[in-house]
């Protein structure tokens, strides 16, 4: 069965066709396309108007790449939330229109459940089965959440329960803010991840927050502030200015810096800072994830969202004996529509079809 997935919850306009919840026939993400040339303007980044402009060509291309037309589809899946309501509305409205025009069932998907399915789909496509109960860590610029996943009754599908989440900043946001304040530009995760191995991860001692209440909750705001204090104390202004100028210069040439180039503008003390920061974030993530996994006796751990692409996190997780970790592939870590189509497949099988009265929901919880 082929499902067309549509995702427009935040910055990316995306569409994909996925077969039987496992085989990705096409996956188009607008912010990664050569959109300037294609649509004669700067595309996505935010806002419903930009989604509106991109959605038709993106869906069309997803169908073309998959070599199918609407008649060959079995359902339309769309992200209902959480996200920006204006952005969500574009995807939801367009999905409804196609569903109505082509008489295809419409399936509503929670964006966060989509992230979990990006991993389940990958395992399924390799013929693997992820053992339940599982714990999912969804970690990106907007999320840092732990969910337990248990097999529910066949007619209802998996049961999710929120185990922990960030009390303040998301982990990806901490990466972006630290990179920005140090003059590394945006996005910050990949740069810090690439440079961290060149510094001493124990060079600077950052303390992690002790949680009152739920000990499985995360906090990254204090770490961000601690990095800021360190920078203020060490008079990095000149260094940051140099690096910032370097970033601008590369951007003007449409080039991305190599690790060697980064190293020429990043002194040892700053490399130690990056390594120590990354070490602290990864420790915070893994420590609470493993505590959570132990509490629920998880047989597997799923990691998805933009930060799942972090090499340091992957390596640290690989050193853990049990439970087994499953990471989303790099392309499916960030927002995409293939995961939405994949999450919709079991719903379609169960007959969980949304009506045309489907509403976008800015704060749609996956579980309480």
């Amino acid at each position: 069965m082929k499902i067309l997935g549509i995702e427009s919850s935040c910055d990316e306009t995306a569409a994909a066709v996925v077969e039987d919840g496992a085989r990705v026939l096409s996956s188009v993400v607008a912010s990664q396309m050569d959109t300037h040339a294609k649509y004669g303007g700067v595309v996505p980044e935010l806002a419903s108007r930009e989604h509106l402009r991109a959605i038709v060509p993106v869906v069309r291309q997803a169908l073309r790449d998959a070599g199918v037309d609407l008649k060959q589809l079995d359902a339309i899946a769309v992200t209902q939330g959480p996200g920006l309501v204006g952005s969500l509305l574009v995807g939801v409205t367009y999905a409804k229109a196609i569903s109505f025009a082509a008489s295809l069932p419409l399936i509503a998907v929670n964006h966060v459940e989509g992230h979990i399915y990006s991993v389940l789909m990958d395992a399924k496509s390799k013929g693997e089965e992820i053992a339940l109960p599982a714990l999912a860590l969804v970690v990106s610029g907007g999320h840092t959440h732990l969910f337990s996943i248990a097999a529910g009754p066949a007619e209802l599908g998996p049961v999710y329960k929120l185990m922990g989440r960030t009390r303040d900043d998301a982990a990806g946001e901490a990466y972006d803010k630290v990179a920005k304040l140090l003059g590394f530009g945006y996005p910050g995760g990949p740069v810090i991840d690439r440079l961290a191995p060149f510094g001493d991860p124990k060079g600077i001692k950052f303390t992690t927050a002790r949680m009152k209440g739920n000990e499985l909750d995360f906090s990254f705001s204090g770490l961000k502030t601690a990095v800021l204090r360190w920078v203020e104390k060490h008079d990095l202004l000149e260094e940051i200015r140099t690096r910032h100028a370097f970033v601008e210069q590369k951007r003007a040439k449409h080039e991305s810096p190599t690790v060697e180039e980064w190293l020429t503008v990043t002194p040892t003390a700053t490399l130690d800072l990056l390594a120590s920061f990354q070490h602290t974030v990864i420790h915070e993530l893994l420590h609470r994830t493993l505590a959570s996994a132990e509490q629920m006796d998880a047989r597997s751990v799923i990691v998805s969202g933009g930060v799942a692409a972090n090499e340091g996190l992957r390596q640290a997780a690989a050193r853990t004996a049990r439970p087994r970790f499953y990471f989303a592939t790099r392309t499916l870590s960030t927002d995409n529509a293939a995961m939405i189509a994949a999450a919709a497949y079991p719903k379609l099988l169960r007959g969980e079809v949304a009506g045309l009265a489907l509403k976008a929901q800015a704060s749609l919880p996956l579980a309480g």
């Binding site: 935040c10 935010l46 806002a47 907007g142 900043d169 946001e173 739920n214 705001s221 502030t225």
Partner: protein
């Protein structure tokens, strides 16, 4: 603008408590800019305000930097917005802020002072400043400016 209130807090919990007290200060329908450096406590203060207004529990309020807009309460009584990630006033406008400003809610905007041209004239201003005390401890000064003509806050 007239400085109406001033708090000094010495922990995140005190900052949230200041937020809870501040909650009753704003009218039901108001816009307030949250100004202050990274780590000044803008989101922490918002947690207190949201709790004080009965819109959300403090632990349910997280940073909107990536997601741009968070809504709390049913019906929505608090909008928590963050413009940190945006580069131009045009991008901020495209978020549909004007519609949100018209909503019968308290609209709190982190980094709102980046784009003063998009703010309503009667916006409140909440300024957070980190203070280094003589004993090496940290404190936060929170000042609230009501819309008006004079600058008399010291």
């Amino acid at each position: 603008m007239i400085c109406a209130l001033r708090f000094e807090t010495h922990s995140d919990e005190e900052t949230r408590a200041a937020g809870r007290r501040l909650a009753g200060f704003f009218p039901a329908h108001a816009v307030a800019v949250l100004a202050g450096d990274l780590g000044a406590g803008k989101t922490t203060l918002t947690q207190g305000i949201a709790e004080g207004r009965g819109a959300a529990r403090a632990e349910d309020v997280s940073s909107p930097t990536f997601t741009l807009i968070h809504e709390y309460g049913d019906p929505v009584s608090i909008y928590h917005i963050d413009l940190y990630r945006l580069d131009t006033a045009e991008e901020a406008r495209r978020l549909g802020l004007e519609d949100i400003f018209d909503a019968p809610a308290l609209v709190l905007i982190e980094w709102g002072d980046k784009f003063p041209e998009i703010l309503p004239a009667d916006a409140f201003r909440i300024e957070l400043t980190r203070l280094e005390l003589a004993d090496g401890e940290e404190a936060r000064e929170i000042r609230v400016w009501t819309p008006g003509t004079e600058m008399v806050c010291t």
